[in-house]
């Protein structure tokens, strides 16, 4: 049996002050990271393009705060938010964005391929929907080897148009895999409204495979986190897979260079989301209302994060590029010759 529920913010305090502040901090860290990344692009200091996560912070943070370092995620081309939320640090991230040797991927991945294995982030992916197989395979590995980690597969509404999703959801359901398909519906598939590319219901597609599916307000970090914790626990209890559609909004264009975009989205609509449905403003007000933090404490946090980002950007700008000899390194992984001998 499948069910579809609409989770709403629980107005009573269920978490510790430290946990709430950590969620707030992580959301602001994502927004701050993106503001700096955008600035690096606008000032022509960053090679290439990048896709901003601003506006969607409650999704990544609400979900990743329900995970631990052994749990895995797969990310998307709009992946900085997932990376920060899963525990990455600014310095190695900015170094990666600038193609520097000290980046998470030694500068070889860049924004669209940033991966942080130390925190279970299996990487962003520049193919829309490209990591759906990877996430499902991570879950199959967990089941096969008796590990208790859960994998979350992030993708957007645009990714639901890829056939791969339906192939892997079918197998995940057949094999009862500990994977959560997290569809961040930000209303736009690149430069096209989602309603123009998605027929019928997105959650019904998962339900057709017998996967329990949920819709949640992706601007409400507490609602996202509460639902995620339940689903993660149920995955660990062998009740997976699950599907969650998170209703959210992308503040920037498809990428940082998509500036004149009124032909597909009005300024008024953007302003409405930013002013009335911002996940950080919403959560900040709630923290103050609940007496979890004061205005001063919040401002201090914000300033500390800004300073951290400033320091990390300065470090990354001054950091070294990889040595040119690295260009043909890491094409193939090493295999210990001893393991290739008979009898071993």
């Amino acid at each position: 049996m499948t069910s579809k529920t609409n989770a709403k913010t629980n107005t009573t305090k269920a978490l510790s002050t430290a946990e709430y502040l950590r969620m707030y901090t992580q959301m602001v860290r994502i927004r701050t990271f993106e503001d700096n990344a955008n600035q690096l692009y606008l000032s022509a200091k960053m090679p290439g393009l990048t896709h901003m996560y601003s506006g969607q912070e409650a999704v990544a943070v609400g979900i990743c705060e329900a995970l631990n370092d052994n749990d895995h995620i797969t990310s998307t081309h709009r992946g900085h938010g997932h990376c920060v939320a899963k525990g990455a640090n600014f310095t190695e991230m900015f170094c990666e964005l600038l193609g520097k040797e000290e980046g998470y991927c030694r500068g070889k991945g860049g924004s669209m391929h940033i991966a942080d294995q130390s925190h279970g982030n299996l990487g962003a992916n520049a193919i829309v929907g490209g990591s759906m197989g990877i996430a499902t395979g991570s879950a199959l590995r967990a089941k096969l080897l008796g590990h208790d980690d859960v994998t979350v597969c992030f993708f957007g509404d645009g990714g639901t148009a890829q056939g791969l999703l339906y192939e892997v959801m079918n197998m995940a359901a057949l094999w009862n895999l500990p994977v959560i398909y997290a569809c961040e519906n930000n209303g736009y598939s690149e430069y096209t409204k989602t309603e123009e590319i998605a027929a019928g219901s997105i959650t019904a597609r998962a339900e057709a495979f017998g996967i329990e599916a949920f819709t949640v307000d992706g601007q409400d970090v507490i609602a996202v986190n509460e639902l995620s914790k339940k689903l993660v626990a149920r995955c660990r209890n062998n009740e997976g897979p699950f599907f969650v559609e998170l209703m959210t909004y992308r503040y920037h264009g498809h990428h940082v260079g998509d500036i004149n975009r009124e032909y597909y989205r009005s300024k008024q609509e953007e302003a409405d989301w930013k002013e009335n449905r911002d996940p950080i403003i919403h959560f900040r007000s709630w923290l103050i209302e609940q007496g979890i933090a004061t205005e001063d404490e919040i401002e201090t946090l914000n300033q500390e994060i800004k300073q951290d980002a400033k320091t990390a950007v300065a470090y990354a700008e001054a950091a070294a590029y990889p040595d040119l000899s690295e260009v043909d390194m890491h094409v193939y992984a090493e295999t210990d010759p001893a393991t290739l001998r008979a009898g071993n």
Partner: protein
């Protein structure tokens, strides 16, 4: 020495490696009770159970993608892709995902997985079940590609493929599954990047891959009767390629034909011929010839299909003309 079929050799390699390493598992279409349409995997599900010999839906991109994710997180999947022609279906997962993880992550993520599939025409299977598509994957940095030419190679290369820390595509000739060859009972592995000199000769080098090793050997026997001494070399893996052994042979014989069952245009034969031209030019007495499959979709009609693949007679004829100096100025 005992002789077993190529099919049995692959089966033995898989069973031995699955006993050795509990993180290995097989997934693909009809791999468990059916043991694949070619019965290569018969008996494995009885020993290892359905948890490690997993029947999948007919979803090639899906299960190859799943293998990539399992490999990235600590397992060693062995994917069974029922026909080599289905490589087209899985190109994103294999070439954009598996092949690039190690590089894109600066060496942090690796993908120790095997895709075993097949090649080969003349089975009357039509254009979508007869192709030899190893050039497609050999083109992609990050993938290794092995082409066993007998039961002996099939076992030794498979064991290396499973233990290698990279995505390896190992492509068997589906017409050779019942061919027997001597295979030792004691464990052995064949290293990648080491060519096998099947037959020594002094007048011309015949470089054959997979199914074309037998063709090259048969051509060498024809030529021997005419007093032409042909050296036959099987590269065994085309990525990595044992260039040194090939160059050494060509520097000795001064002539070469490269024979491969993939299409000739933009194929393996062109790549190997080009390397020989670049690195042994002054030793050559004649242009290096390419002999691949004809550049047509594989036809169904037997009389047409048989024309598309190099034959011993065709190789011998070209060798004869090269040795006679007839093709030096051939356009």
């Amino acid at each position: 020495m005992r002789e077993i079929t190529l099919s049995q050799a692959v089966n033995e390699a898989l069973a031995e490696e699955m006993r050795r390493d509990p993180t290995t598992f097989i997934l693909g279409e009809d791999v468990a009770e059916a043991g694949t349409p070619f019965k290569v995997l018969s008996g494995l599900v009885e020993e290892f159970g359905t948890a490690r010999v997993i029947d999948t839906p007919i979803s090639e991109p899906g299960f190859v993608g799943i293998a990539v994710g399992a490999a990235m997180t600590g397992a060693r999947p062995i994917v069974d892709l029922m026909f080599g022609d289905f490589l087209y279906l899985v190109m994103d997962q294999l070439c954009n995902q598996a092949a690039k993880q190690q590089y894109m992550s600066g060496g942090k993520l690796s993908v120790p997985m095997v895709v075993r599939t097949n090649l080969g025409a003349t089975r009357r299977s039509g254009a979508q079940h007869s192709q030899s598509l190893h050039a497609l994957v050999a083109h992609i940095p990050g993938l290794k590609v092995a082409l066993p030419s007998s039961a002996y190679e099939a076992k030794g290369l498979m064991k290396t493929a499973i233990r290698d820390n990279n995505p390896v595509v190992i492509i068997e000739d589906k017409l050779m599954y019942q061919d027997k060859a001597p295979v030792p009972e004691d464990e052995y592995l064949i290293p990648f990047g080491v060519a096998n000199i099947k037959r020594e000769g002094s007048d011309i080098t015949l470089i054959g891959t997979s199914s074309m090793v037998q063709v090259a050997e048969a051509a060498a026997r024809i030529l021997e009767a005419e007093g032409i001494s042909a050296e036959v070399i099987d590269p065994r893996t085309i990525v990595p390629l044992d260039e040194e052994t090939l160059l050494k042979s060509v520097r000795k014989t001064s002539r070469a034909i490269v024979i491969d069952e993939g299409h000739q245009n933009y194929g393996i034969t062109g790549e190997i011929a080009s390397r020989l031209n670049e690195k042994a030019f002054y030793y050559l007495d004649a242009p290096v010839l390419r002999m691949g499959a004809m550049d047509v979709p594989i036809p169904f009609s037997p009389v047409l299909e048989d024309l598309t693949v190099p034959t011993p007679e065709g190789v011998a004829e070209n060798a004869r003309r090269l040795c006679a100096g007839e093709m030096i100025h051939a356009a």
